[in-house]
């Protein structure tokens, strides 16, 4: 259910690269290298896209870049480990506020140190929540994380000196380093935030794709599928759950740091409950537990709202109504997907492909018999 794209490629590559050279053979043998190749290819694709598109698409691609790590982290938690979280928007807020507060005070370079600090902050909060969450299940967990999503912005307002209160903190995006300017020239300079965001987002994806196919990933799936069987196999249920929560929160921290840099403002209004629910929409729509699904869902989150809002404005709706069109569509999509295709885009497509393959095999078997 989880490693959709990975499994598909395992089956395909041996046939294609069986007679290939040494490098290709190494690629087919090592899953980590294969994922690395995929991620690098994706990055090249993003760079090309950024070259082709105008300024506006830059922003949308950068938006998608901050959704990707958070959604991937959530799909790991909810899809792979079976713990639902409605508080990932709040964990993103922890990362975003950390980044904003650091950049507000000190000129910490390189930027990766700021990201690491945000990740650490989100992971610590994730650890606290995860310890509590490990004892809860189903609706109880949903409610507790929901309370987190609603309650956390209040802390930012309470510590107004540190976090800017209701107005929030303005964020000065990090300057591109000198070597980047030399390499890219003036034109590519404007795409630096998107490029930076995607470099981080794809690193997170690479890390997670290896993690879910590792021992830890197997343990998480075992805990999700059957608690009793998993603990009989010697898996410490609590530890596995807390670890999944921490990893997931750390990913949300990366997303939060990117959110701060991309939107240049972190305020209580930018990390509302709706953000958490959007993340959930993304992973359900893409397919629970699939990293590819999380990426597809993030793309829909980043691109669909502007399309919808513009359509609505063109057809004469006023701006308040137009702004509400996207959430309404997302809500309805969430319901319809759950009723009609609960496996999401990736899961449904995979089953369709498999059943077609099965049909072909049966037909072939019949043909060979006659």
């Amino acid at each position: 259910m989880t490693d959709t794209s990975e499994k598909a490629s395992t089956k395909v590559t041996p046939a294609g690269g069986g007679s290939g050279g040494g490098a290709l053979a190494a690629l087919t043998r090592s899953r980590g290298l294969r994922h690395l190749a995929l991620v690098l290819a994706a990055y090249v694709g993003i760079v090309l896209l950024l070259q082709l598109f105008g300024d506006f698409r830059d922003t949308q691609l950068a938006t998608m870049a901050y959704f990707v790590p958070a959604a991937a982290g959530l799909t790991l938690l909810t899809g792979v480990n079976g713990q639902i979280s409605l508080g990932h928007g709040a964990l993103m807020a922890v990362g975003a506020y950390t980044t904003a507060a650091i950049l507000d005070r000190a000129d910490l370079t390189p930027f990766i140190l700021v990201v690491l600090a945000s990740v650490a902050a989100a992971a610590v909060v994730g650890l606290l929540v995860g310890v509590a969450a490990a004892r809860l299940h189903g609706p109880y967990l949903a409610g507790a994380t929901l309370a987190l999503a609603v309650g956390l912005p209040g802390i930012a307002i309470y510590f107004g000196d540190l976090f800017g209160g209701e107005q929030g903190l303005r964020v000065r995006p990090p300057d591109p380093p000198a070597w980047f300017e030399d390499l890219a020239g003036g034109d590519l300079g404007r795409t630096y935030p998107a490029l930076l965001g995607w470099a981080l987002a794809l690193s997170v994806l690479w890390f997670l794709s290896n993690l879910v196919t590792s021992r830890y990933g197997r343990q998480w799936r075992a805990v999700r599928d059957d608690e009793v069987a998993a603990s009989l196999c010697g898996i410490d249920l609590g530890r596995a759950r807390v670890l999944a929560f921490v990893v997931s929160a750390a990913c949300a921290g990366v997303g939060g740091a990117l959110l701060a840099v991309t939107s240049r403002l972190v305020a209580p209004t930018s990390v509302t409950l709706v953000l958490s629910l959007y993340l959930l929409t993304a992973i359900v729509l893409g397919g629970l537990g699939s990293l590819l699904g999380a990426v597809l869902g993030s793309a829909i989150l980043a691109f669909l709202p502007t399309v919808l809002t513009n359509r609505a404005l063109d057809s004469g709706l006023d701006s308040a109504a137009a702004a509400n069109l996207a959430p309404m569509v997302f809500g309805l999509v969430l319901v319809v997907v759950m009723l009609a295709a609960p496996r999401g885009i990736v899961g449904t497509t995979r089953i369709a492909l498999l059943s077609r393959k099965l049909k072909k095999q049966r037909a072939a078997a019949l043909a060979s018999r006659t």
Binding site: P139, G154, T281, N324, L325, P327, F330, L334
Partner: protein
């Protein structure tokens, strides 16, 4: 002392409203093992209907009140029959996601139909001045007493329905054991729809009461439904008494946190109470202890 009294009366008023909300959630959870996260959005929607009638079309308050309750009843029945019925038997995470989807969609629909602005909602009784006992001024307004009394009356009717009527017996049977109830001739499906409809009605009542004398916006029930949920969980999710006690505990905690600590930390206070209770007793305070199925 003055402040303590006032905080306590405010806390009780809000506690009763949270309890009303918690009761809706408990009503549904007992029957279908689903948490209806859309409950708040449903109530907000029917409150807006009442607003449309009372403020925009100059109807009397009680007409709007009645229409909101009927609309809540119908909306609850509709949601159960058309949407939730299909996920009742699936994994519990699916039902959670469906009700969350309804929550987002309904709230956005309100924004499209009525706009995003804050609108003043009338109260049928004086909502500004309290009363005095001797020298102490008590901040409980006539509107507050109306709120508490309404919830208590509705609660009494609900209990009477469950205890003393034939339909109530069937409702309880359907919630207790679907298969057995079905064998004994109870139309379980209809009972589930009725349960959701009753919860919708009760939620609408809470919505109109919370709105009275204040302002409404598409998201005005968001915090209430979350606090209602916290109250329900405190009470163990399947006990009516627990929901009421949970609501009062939560209302008082919030009032004291807002009065003695800081208003911005109210929501965090709710979370803290929830976590402490759940860590000590993962099933809530009043849960009948059931062993998890192996």
């Amino acid at each position: 002392m003055q402040q303590f009294l006032n905080l306590t009366t405010t806390g009780i008023t809000f506690g009763v409203l949270y309890a009303a909300f918690a009761l809706c959630l408990v009503l549904i959870f007992r029957a279908t093992r689903i948490i209806n996260f859309a409950q708040g959005a449903q109530a907000a929607f029917t409150t807006y209907l009442a607003y449309e009638l009372v403020v925009e079309r100059d109807q009397p308050y009680w007409v709007g009140f009645l229409v909101a309750l009927v609309a809540g009843f119908l909306l609850g029945a509709f949601i159960e029959r058309v949407v939730v019925r299909r996920v009742e038997t699936g994994p519990e995470i699916n039902a959670v996601i469906v009700t969350l989807g309804l929550f987002v969609a309904l709230e956005a629909l309100i924004g499209i139909l009525f706009g995003q602005d804050f609108l003043g909602f009338p109260a049928p009784f004086d909502a500004s001045s309290g009363f005095a006992v001797g020298d102490t001024q008590i901040a409980q307004t006539a509107n507050d007493r109306y709120r508490i009394l309404s919830v208590l009356v509705a609660l009494g009717l609900l209990v009477a329905l469950f205890r003393f009527t034939d339909v109530g017996l069937r409702l309880r049977a359907a919630a207790f054991g679907q298969e057995v109830a079905r064998l004994l001739g109870v139309r379980v499906g209809r009972m589930l729809t009725l349960g959701w409809a009753l919860a919708g009605l009760f939620g609408s009542l809470a919505g109109v009461l919370i709105a009275g004398g204040g302002f409404i916006s598409p998201g005005f029930m968001q915090t209430s439904v979350i606090f209602g949920f916290v109250a329900a969980v405190l009470g163990g999710l399947d006990s009516f008494v627990g929901a009421i006690v949970g609501g009062l505990v939560l209302g008082l905690t919030q009032s004291y946190v807002a009065g003695y600590v800081d208003g911005d930390l109210v929501n965090m206070g709710a979370l803290a109470v929830l976590l402490v209770v759940l860590l000590a007793k993962p099933g809530g305070l009043f849960s009948s202890s059931v062993a998890r199925k192996v």
